[in-house]
Structure formats: C-alpha cells, structure tokens
C-alpha cells in the first residue's frame, strides 16, 4: 500500500521509499525514515498535498511524493 491510499486519521508505518535517491534524501532530511509512523491528517483539494502528522510534527508532502512512499498498516490506532 502507498501513503496516498492511506485513509485520514489512520496511523501507518513507513516501509520503504520508491523513486530515487534524491527523493529519499529529501524525505530523510525532513525526518521521515522507514520504520516511522505517520498519520494523514488532511489534504488540500484539487490534487493538492497531504498533511502528515509525524510524531506531533506537521509535514506537507505532495501527492506525487506520497504515491512513492510504501506504507503498512499497524495494529494499534494511535501511538
């Protein structure tokens, strides 16, 4: 499953990044790493970006980026 498919309010764990070193480095720099849990909290309309809650911090990522982040569902709903 990709991050773009995750439903609002659901916490998922990042499994891997697809789509090249540069994208990966950029995500890493903002503090997103495989193994981290994130929650999609909102989305901008008209194909705008997603707003993620990364352990209390808000990070906006475009849908193109979100469709290259592989995530897995986790059992507990909140961390």
């Amino acid at each position: 499953m990709y991050l773009i498919d995750a439903s609002f309010g659901k916490t998922v764990r990042i499994a891997a990044f697809e789509g090249g070193r540069r994208l990966e480095a950029k995500l890493r720099q903002i503090g997103l790493m495989p193994g981290d849990t994130v929650t999609v909290v909102r989305a901008a309309p008209l194909g705008g970006p997603l707003l993620l809650d990364v352990q209390g911090r808000l990070v906006a990522i475009g849908r193109g980026v979100a469709s290259r982040v592989v995530v897995e569902e986790i059992e507990c709903v909140s961390h």
Partner: protein, 636 residues
C-alpha cells in the same frame, strides 16, 4: 573568537541571533528565511565575539545550496564554538543534526529553544540527562522573550576557551569500524574537522568532500570505496542510508530517554487549522486575509498620504519663490524637496504597514499554510508549494525573494522561481500602484492590477515551464505550529526592511529628483523621452514618461516620483487619464527589475540569466500594459 549558530529551519536561531545582535537577520515562521549567513559582533563577558547565523538545515548532507553553505562554513573557517539550537517541541527531529555536529568535533553548546511552547504542549525535557548523554552542555532557552540567552553565550565562551570537544556518537560496530578504517589515513589534514567526521562523509559518498579529498589526499579514496563496499555487503544497503538510519536511531533513543510527553488539551491554536486549512473555508480565509491585508495597507497609507502631500506642496509653494523661483537653484531645491516628499508621503505610508502586516503573517506561521493551500496551483506553474516563499517575500522586496530561491532543490526550479518572482510587485511598486491608481481611481482597481499581475505570472510560468521541462519531485515541507508573534520582533523586522529603503533607496531617490530637475532646467529631457518614445507611443502614454521609466530601473518608486516631476509637478489627475494611469502602473509593475534585484539575479543565476530575465520582463511589460490599456479603455 567566533561562534556559529546552527539548527533546523524554524528552530529560532535567527530570533536568538537578533536578540544579541540587534535586528540583522531575517526571521519568519517558515523554513528558509535565512539563506545566506549573517555575521555580527557582540560582547560576551568583555570579549568581542563574532556570531554567525547559518541558514537552517535538517542535516549536514548538502542536497541544496543552502545546506551546502552550512557545511562548507563549518569545514573551512575556524569556528571557535558551535551553538546548536533545538526546538524543544520537536526535540527528536532536531537531534539528528546534533549527532552530526557531535561527529564534527568542534566545541558544542546545545540550546533547547521554545521551552515555553513545549510546556504548553505538555512536553517535558530532562536537560541535565541530555547533557550527560551527549557530553556537551545543554541549556534551556526562550529566544523570543530573551530568556536564557546570556547563559547560552557565556557557556559557548567557556567551551570555546577550554576547547571542550564532545565525544563522538556511538554507531553500530560495523559502521564504526568502517569509519575508523578511513580515519586511520587522516592525520589532521582537514582540521578543524575531526578525522572521523571527514571519514564519515567519505563513507556516505558526499560529492563535495570526495572531490576535495581527491585533490588533497587521493590515496584515501580507494580506502573509502572499500569501506563503502564492505557496508553494502554486510548491510545490504548503501552507506549513506545506513549512516542516516544510525543517526535516526540514535536520535530516537536519546529522545526517548529525555522527553516526557503529557496529554494536553486541544487548544484554539490546534483547532485553527480546521478552518484555515479547510478545503473550502481555507481558501475563503486566504482570500479574506489577503483582502484585509491590502485594505489595511491602503487605508493607513491613504490616510497619511494626503496630509503629508499637502504639507509638502505648501512648503514648496512657499520655499521655491523665496529662493528665486525659476533659476537653477530654485529648480534644484524643488527637485530635492520632491524627492524628500516622495519618500515620506508616497512610499513610507504604504511600505510601513505592508511590512508590519507581512511580518505578522510570517511570524504567526501562516505563510507555509499558504504554500500548502497553493501547492496544486503552483504545480500548474511548473513549481511546487515551497516556491510560494520567494513569491510572498517578493511582495516585500524582490532581492530577498531571489535569494530565498536557494531553498529550492533543483537549478531549473530556482531559475523559474527567480524569474517569476521578479514579476511580483514589490513594496516599491506597490507604492506606484497605490500612490497612483488606488489614490486616484480607488482601491478596487489597484486590487484588479494585483489580480491581473497574478494572472500574468501564471501564464508566464506555464509558458516557461513548457520551455524548460522536467518533472518536479513534489512538495516536502514542514508546517510549523502557530505562534503568537511578539510585537517587538514584528516591529524590529519591519524597521529592518524600512531601514533598507531609508538608507539605500531614499538618497538615490532624492539625488535622482535633483538630476531630473537639472535635466528639465537644461531642457535635456526630450532626448531621453525620444529614446523611449516607441514604448510610450505604443502604450498611449505621454512622452514625458520616458525619463521616469529610466529612473525606475534605479529604484522602482522613482518612476512615480519622477513622473510627478516630469509632468511639471501637476496633479496626476490633471495630467493623465485613468486609462493612462492604469497602463503606466501595469508597465511599471512588470518591466526591468531594479538595480538591486538585477545584481541579486546575477549573483544567484549568472549574468546571462540576468540579461535574459531583464529582456523578458520588457516584453512581458509591454504586452501586459497593452492588454491593460485595451481592457481599461473598454471598461472605464
């Protein structure tokens, strides 16, 4: 003695810097406000210390020019102590950078900022424990209120004097062995960098340092390659990834040991985004905020402009005949006076409230939310939401706007964003639009010019992004929490920007007015006007606009003030028709950026790009003004 301030974007470094240095660094509640470094001298315990505010960075891995700059600075110049500013509310994310700094082997002080905010969010941080775990002093800080500032600098002075070097971070054994195998070949050649720091960067395959080593210590490269391969074999991942994961894990375990989170009630601030980022109300709010903003600027400006203008008119009527009316001295005096009054009456009344308002929006943290809302629109310009930052800054002044394009990751995007942000009407051009169009024809027409400007930028963006195609990787941007701006910071920032106008532009403006008065007195202006006649004819403007337009390249506000002069000091309403006012304003909004902007373009993109952009803007200005002329003649 020299201290470097370093931290993640938006952690409050610049706020700390300004606390000690007076207002010198640009601050704002979004990433990338400080794009080049600012230095200032301060006195700590009687010793003069240079303090350097480095651009915010998430890691020392340089993937964009702003980050490159940080590492180059730390690696190339003698810094006596590094002050690492962390955001207490997101300690974990800041610690990854701290771990990289521990690696460098420079005296280090850790300042945990926004302690008040952390308390509000129910976050408690065990400072002494963090200090023990890191082996470097850790101090609490509330930079916005100046609390803890003195202690941070005194401690920095102490670690700098004693050259207290913190211990290296503890990586997993295989990683550590790989680093040591490279570091064994280094013997202080890269001081003040610790050998292991260079080794770690070589292991990661950092392009810049690999190049440096290939010229200074080429025998090290095969060793580094071997270590990289070893890590790849053992871990099944390249060393850069492994090291990043190691640091991430170290930061996580540190944070786990020192951060205690309590539940906190959702406050109004937490709920603000429900409205401001709402798919519908968010845009309603965006438009309302911008509308109020412009109304506020106009309301204040026009209130002040009339009486000041009247005062200077009377002064001129009284003073000029006193000096001798129509002779050279009289003409010069009138010119000087008009330059002075132009600054006081036409520029400042709009510039000051605009900058105060922009400062408020910045410090509250609304700008990145605008980027979030506008991202899909920006995509249509071939850019992404982050590029909204240069655009917004551009409304203040194009120079910081062009400098802020460094936060963008690829050169194509930087070129595109820089080109488009020169089309954004800066505060100086605002004074032309407001002083002429809003003053005589009402604020709604001024607003229409601003909307038309956005439209032209959009069309230009689309055309240019087709001409230089490449897919953009997409938006990745942190959205900061809302913060209550401090009046002191907002006013200081506005003053910092106004100051620029007063010391740099105003003298040029006054001198320019005098030169123009001289040209008029000597009857030379017709020649200049003749040169620009093709353009003024095309746009249906009186030929006298030629000289003001030339002066407008020096400083944009000159074009209006000079126009007043060129029209013989008569009221604009008497000398220009409404259509001409609109056409003139639209042309001024788009044509050749001012000298300061041109030099910023040359610095960031090179001379060729600068000339290209200047040429392009003349073309765009002529087309846009023609369209405006056509539409205005039909409507008015």
């Amino acid at each position: 003695m020299r201290f470097a301030l370093i931290g993640q974007p938006n952690c409050g470094k610049s706020t700390l810097f300004n606390q000690v240095a007076g207002y010198k660094a640009q601050t704002g509640n979004f990433a990338g406000t400080t794009v080049s470094y600012t230095e200032s001298r301060v006195r700590v315990l009687g010793e003069v210390v240079e303090i350097v505010d480095l651009p915010g960075t998430y890691t020392l891995e340089g993937t964009n020019p702003a980050e490159r700059e940080v590492l180059n600075y730390l690696a190339s110049r003698e810094v006596d102590a590094v002050i690492n500013v962390l955001d207490a509310t997101h300690l974990f994310h800041g610690l990854a950078l701290t771990i990289e700094l521990l690696e460098l082997g420079r005296p280090l002080v850790i300042a945990v900022n926004m302690m008040d905010e952390a308390v509000r969010m129910g976050v408690r941080i065990d400072g002494p424990k963090l200090e023990e775990l890191l082996g470097a002093p850790v101090l609490p800080l509330v930079a916005s209120r100046g609390r803890g500032v003195r202690d941070v600098f005194v401690t920095a002075l102490n670690v700098a004097r004693s050259q207290h070097i913190p211990p290296r971070p503890n990586y997993a054994r295989d990683v550590e062995e790989a680093i040591q195998s490279i570091a064994a070949g280094i013997d202080g050649q890269f001081a003040p960098l610790r050998g292991e720091a260079m080794a770690a960067m070589l292991l990661e395959g950092d392009a810049h340092f690999t190049q440096r080593v290939s010229s200074e210590l080429p025998e090290l490269l095969p060793v580094a390659r071997e270590a990289q391969e070893h890590i790849l074999n053992v871990r099944g991942q390249d060393a850069a990834r492994v090291l990043a994961a190691e640091r991430h894990a170290l930061a996580a375990s540190l944070a786990e040991k020192v951060v205690e989170r309590h539940e906190h009630r959702l406050t109004l601030r937490d709920r603000l985004d429900d409205v401001l980022l709402h798919p519908i109300f968010g845009y309603v709010a965006l438009i309302a905020i911008l509308y109020l903003f412009f109304q506020g600027v106009y309301g204040f400006g026009s209130l002040v402009e009339r009486p000041i203008l009247a005062f200077f008119d009377n002064l001129e009527k009284w003073l000029v005949p006193l000096i001798g009316g129509q002779n050279l001295v009289g003409a010069l005096a009138a010119g000087l006076l008009q330059g002075i009054s132009g600054g006081v009456a036409i520029v400042l009344p709009y510039l000051v409230p605009f900058l105060v308002g922009l400062g408020l929006l910045e410090d509250v943290g609304y700008l990145p939310r605008m980027a979030f809302l506008m991202d899909s629109l920006m995509h249509r310009l071939g850019l992404h939401g982050k590029a909204i930052v240069p655009f917004i800054l551009g409304y203040g002044c194009n120079v910081p706007a062009i400098m802020s394009t460094r936060i963008l990751d690829d050169p194509r995007e930087r070129l595109l964003a820089a080109t488009l942000s020169t089309l954004v009407p800066c505060a100086a051009r605002l004074s032309v639009v407001f002083g002429l169009v809003a003053f005589y024809l009402g604020p709604n027409i001024a607003l229409a010019i601003y909307l038309f400007n956005l439209f032209v930028i959009a069309v230009t963006g689309r055309i240019l992004s087709r001409m230089i195609p490449e897919d953009t990787p997409g938006l990745i941007m942190e959205i900061p929490v809302y913060r209550t701006p401090t009046l002191r910071n907002v006013l200081a920032k506005a003053w910092f920007r106004v100051h620029d106008f007063v010391v740099e532009a105003w003298p040029v403006l006054i001198a320019g007015s005098a030169v123009l008065a001289l040209l008029t007195y000597l009857n030379l202006t017709p020649y200049f006007n003749l040169m620009l006649r093709p353009i003024s004819w095309l746009l249906g403007l009186p030929s006298q606009v030629g000289v003001p337009l030339i002066f407008g390249i020096l400083r944009k506000e000159l074009s209006l003030i000079m126009l007043r002069q060129a029209l013989g000091g008569a009221s604009f309403a008497a000398a220009l028709t409404p259509v001409q006012m609109i056409t003139f304003s639209v042309f001024v909004v788009f044509y050749i950026p001012c000298l300061a902007t041109l030099s910023a373009l040359r610095r960031e993109l090179g001379g060729k790009a600068m000339l290209g952009i200047a040429g392009l803007t003349v073309l765009i200005a002529s087309l846009a003004a023609l369209i405006a002329r056509g539409v205005a003649s039909l409507v008015l």
